[in-house]
Symmetry: none
DNA sequence: CATGAATGAGGTTTCATTCAT
DNA sequence: AATGAATGAAACCTCATTCAT
């Protein structure tokens, strides 16, 4: 790759990063996310945005994907390993809590911009389906109880993600979070193991 | 109350009912929900809508509440009874499946019109908090396992509602639904009972 | 028709007339014809234009049709009569000169807004085809010379309309116009009569 | 001229030729003629276009002139000869049919890019005025009928060019074209000769 | 009260032109 | 000379809300 195209790519990346940051700020402040406003705050012209993204939709999608990337990566590493199903489940729970901040970011974004309908598709793709796979395997191994793996997956998802959602509305201290996590792991183990 | 004001109230009720119906039709058909369109389809003038609702937001909120009322009523009857906590839980699960149609209506509405953020608040008010109460009581009774009642409630919610959400993306026959329900009840019992 | 709807129609007509006038002014002054500018000059809001016309295209088409209406009417009266073909031809020539002002308006409009491609279609519909019919009949009568009626029609059109177009670039006095008209009639007769 | 400046001129010519070709392709395909698109298709940068043409208008004008050059040349050769007026007229008609493709190209271009107003000026310059000269001479010779030479010129122009325009909307075979041409010549002779 | 025409802020997108590299 | 990213003026269109009748 030439020096020039490297530089271009760098600038492109920088601008996109700036856009992502700006859109986040707008969303957090519950201000309308218009192309005018994004451009103004990024210190570029409106046309420039259209040099980097075809539509407004493409721009927002990029922002959205940016949020999802670290979550996807962590999930991929966990779900595609060949470890024991139970181990992978525990890793998933650990991961959710570890990356609570990413999740919080994700929720902040997704909760204000996407409709529930859109979230459901994403949820399926991001968590339910991998969980179903793990559960199916666990059931075949004979280590997990023999229940519809979808129900099992939903149960796990609800048990793990639900409290994370609710935490925003409760006032929980650090130590509580560890306690909750332990309760969750305990509960999940109790349920799925024969 | 005078005859005149009675009449007024009647008309008000009729128009509001018509509006609710119209908004639903629009949402189901994925058509834009504009004041113009609502008015045209209701056979009234746009200004008339503003005699019944201050804002568009107020109008949509009214529609939303209309959907929630039967759900709230059923939940109230269940959660405010003095029956055994476990019985009430089973009644809740029964209720969710019985009113699956209402829920489907609810989801159709909420999924296309409200953001995830709004759904979370509602979810808390509508299901989590009542479930927390029931669980707390069950724990004090000594019949439920001693886990953070929030986690327990979330687990139950996730196990019951999650599959309902996903069902839209799976292709499930009637008999399957009964099977799933049995799996869910079985699972919930297995979890919460000591 | 009710008094109210009569009034509405009146207002609609008045606004449309105002719009037509405004668009003409803009075209004559070679200024850009934007919806914003039309609205401003008509003393109405941009949205109002959209209450009367679906698109900008529809608006411009209306203006265009407004120009064509008197021309079409005169042509229709002439070409649909049962008079002698030669008489109808003379009437057509008379008409073109009588309504020179309409034509001038038409040209002013069409020349600045429509491409030649569009004009050709219109020309066909407005003049050539009626002329072809008249010529065909004259040929069958045995009064017109036996030449491809399209060529004949084009010749007549060119002979009559061409000078009108060119007059804008020459400086012709009133008397000259009468002289030119006589020359044209003379020429046309000389050509088409056996 | 230095070698360097020769080379420059060559490059300039090549690029301009490429631009002309590209613009034609775009116009024929009814695609928007934007500077971006021209540059991309020519394989040069947008800025380069501005090194060869001051404005977009200048660029388009150049393309337009390119189309006109061969037409002008042929016309010049015909109208500036000292042959008999009638012979020159016949040569003009021959020429129009010979270079039908150039004319068709011309119309394709002019019809989609220029307004009728612009076409009229061009028409005058390109055909009417030369024809007026020829006719004037023919009238003075005593071979042409004594009619306003402008009217005569318009008649000839209309009779010759009109059918060419209309041919696009009719479906005419090769032989028909010869027939039409004969009809036209015949008609023109019949009219202008005493 | 009902009406619905008028309003105009707010939004997205296009594209000729400039200018630093 | 060539480049092409950045620019930003214009243009079109939507729709919640107001208000005179």
């Amino acid at each position: 790759m030439t020096t020039v195209s490297k530089k271009k790519e760098l600038v492109d990346t920088l601008i996109k990063a700036e856009i992502v940051k700006t859109v986040f700020t707008l969303i957090k402040n519950d201000q309308p996310v218009t192309m005018d406003e994004i451009a103004k705050r990024c210190g570029v012209a409106k046309g420039t945005l259209y040099n980097h993204f075809e539509h407004k939709k493409a721009l927002l999608n990029y922002v959205h994907q940016t949020v999802l990337v670290p979550i996807r990566q962590k999930n991929k590493a966990i779900f595609e390993s060949t470890k024991d199903p139970l181990v992978r489940l525990h890793e998933f729970i650990d991961s959710v809590f570890d990356i609570m901040e990413d999740f919080s970011l994700y929720f902040h974004f997704v909760q204000r911009r996407k409709t529930v309908a859109e979230e459901i598709g994403e949820r399926l793709d991001l968590a339910i389906q991998p969980l179903v796979k793990v559960c199916t395997q666990g059931i075949q191994d004979g280590t997990f109880i023999d229940v519809d793996p979808y129900v099992l997956a939903e149960m796990i998802y609800g048990t793990v993600i639900g409290p994370v959602k609710s935490l925003q509305h409760r006032c929980a201290e650090k130590q509580d979070i560890q306690k909750i996590k332990q309760d969750i792991i305990c509960l999940v183990d109790r349920i799925i193991l024969k």
